[in-house]
Amino acid sequence: MSGYINLVLHAHLPFVRHPEFEDFLEEDWFYEACLETYMPLLAMFERLYNDHIPFKLTVSITPTLAAMMKDGYLMGKLERRIYKLKELIGKEKKRKINTPFYESILMYEKWIQTNQEVLEKYDFDLTKGFKRFYKSGQLELITCNATHGFLPFMQALPKLVEAQIKVGVGSFEQTFGFKPSGIWLAECGYYRGVEEVLAKNNIEYFFGETHSIMYADEMPKYGVYAPMYTPSLVACFARDPESSKQVWSAKEGYPGDFDYREFYRDIGFDEDYDYIKPYLHLDGQRRFVGLKYYRITSSLEDLSSKEPYNPAWAKNKITTHAANFLFNRQKQFEHLNSIMDRKPLINAMFDCELFGHWWWEGISFLEEIFKQAHKTKEFGVEFISAKEYLRKFPTNQMSNLCESSWGYKGYGDVWCEGSNEWIYIDLYLKLV
């Protein structure tokens, strides 16, 4: 029994670039994501490639993020940040010898060195790294609507939606040198009619929340385990809830394991102020500097009761969790093969920054999945991209899909509640 996994990572950050300030809080989001997610991801591709381990995944890179990834000013600041972190790690290595934190410091030393190599390898332009693995066939790259706006709430302004898609496609082509075959609609925000705009821009497929297909006008023959065509013949690939929850949920999912690194306990808050001050912003406010020495330990929220992080324990858990993830997919395939007349497809879709940034061990988890799937054929897992799937299985159900998003409750509630509804009022009545 076997099936396909379409692993999709959505990478997005809003465009933040403030050369007028020495430090800028929101710019930190970008540096943190580069150091903890994007560059480790590129390093992972390199390792798998060198070890001849086949891998396939899709990464959507938003136009705003791509613009930052190739921006000389921001990448120069990222390099300075790497130097500062190297300096701090060097000091920590001397201070914390013979402490339970020493193994973590060695881990950080290796991490920052690898990041520096990635930055230099791709000549301070991370988009080059992603393009390289697209060209070698392991990576599918897709775009996103221009500013990551929630399209269902823009539908009464079709020109705005058209501009969001057109700019998303155009800027992607400008960055990567080819037209994207697929798109990530921000927040998986789908409404009926957006597919017409996608078709006009030669987009073949997009990704939707589970009920975009499950609540279509006709019963979905294959559930979410095959794509569905919209009337414009743009295909929708919908999220598999089972695989998502196992990885996504901080409580029930893998990232909440007690042996994994605690995100919120950082030496920016723990160390003596005078010692850590050179690594804070000029305003001197305590903040995360990126070195965290504790593990989650328990479900208790009290940060002071956390125990030291042990990289070896975390590594063992990664092996176990990757095997568990594949085992559960195998079980899903067994069930789905008994009711489907074709190989099932599981769309496992996540925010890219979950891996590495929020879940420190997440990149290693992905790497381990590819390694184990290659080594243990019994799992019956084959990784595939949406584009490849459509060429293997060109016949799919066609229906009117359901308006949806991957936000809380599955529709637009998150993006239109008391605190943020002013955005749309401004957008419709003031900005345009």
Binding site: K159, M219, K221, A235, T320, Q332, I339, Q397, G412, C416
Partner: protein, 183 residues
């Protein structure tokens, strides 16, 4: 329940409704963005399968009591000829330019008008775009269409569509917890 007296013989009235509708401006070619967006002065969208969020702006100062007239136009093609399923009037304060309408019908289509009353007569100030409420259940309709989109080696595509009158799952069961077990 055709309660509203839309006088379909009054061409000017119909045209003005069209002007404010979400569909009219799509037919307009070669107009500036500003001009197009000016029609979006009474906007409504579905927040979830049962709730609408609406907001508006109008130029003229108005001190009277404002009402939203909510029309159900599900499966209605000729609203502009005065057809609709039912309507409901909702009082909104004059001071706010936004309103939420909760507890509506799944999958239904609506259009809103903003106006006031002179006696029993509803005077329309603005009309919104049309909105379709999302579904929130699996359809029972098993008459489906299968489409084929074939790409040749030059990536040119060819499309075929086939209608299937009925399909059934083979002993379909929800995956049990046991089948999702751990190692």
């Amino acid at each position: 329940m055709y309660g509203l007296n839309i006088q379909s013989n009054e061409q000017v009235y119909i045209e003005s409704i069209k002007y404010y509708s979400g569909t009219y401006w799509q037919q307009v070619e070669d107009t500036s963005i500003k001009e197009c967006f000016d029609t979006a002065r009474f906007v409504v969208f579905a927040v979830n399968p049962t709730d609408l969020f609406t907001f508006w702006e109008y130029d003229k100062r108005f001190d009277g009591k404002l009402y939203i007239r909510l029309f159900d136009v599900t499966n209605i093609d000729n609203f502009f000829e005065g057809k609709f399923n039912w309507y409901r009037d909702i009082f909104v304060s004059t001071c706010c330019g936004r309103y939420r309408i909760n507890g509506l019908i799944l999958s239904a289509n609506f259009v809103l008008q903003l106006g006031y009353f002179i006696g029993n007569k509803f005077v329309r100030l603005l009309q919104s775009n049309f909105v379709k409420m999302p579904n929130n259940a699996i359809s029972t309709n098993t008459n489906i269409k299968m489409a084929t989109k074939i790409f040749d080696k030059f990536e040119k595509k060819e499309v075929k569509i086939e209608e299937i009158t009925h399909f059934a799952f083979a002993d379909y069961k929800e995956p049990s917890q046991a089948s999702m077990g751990v190692m």
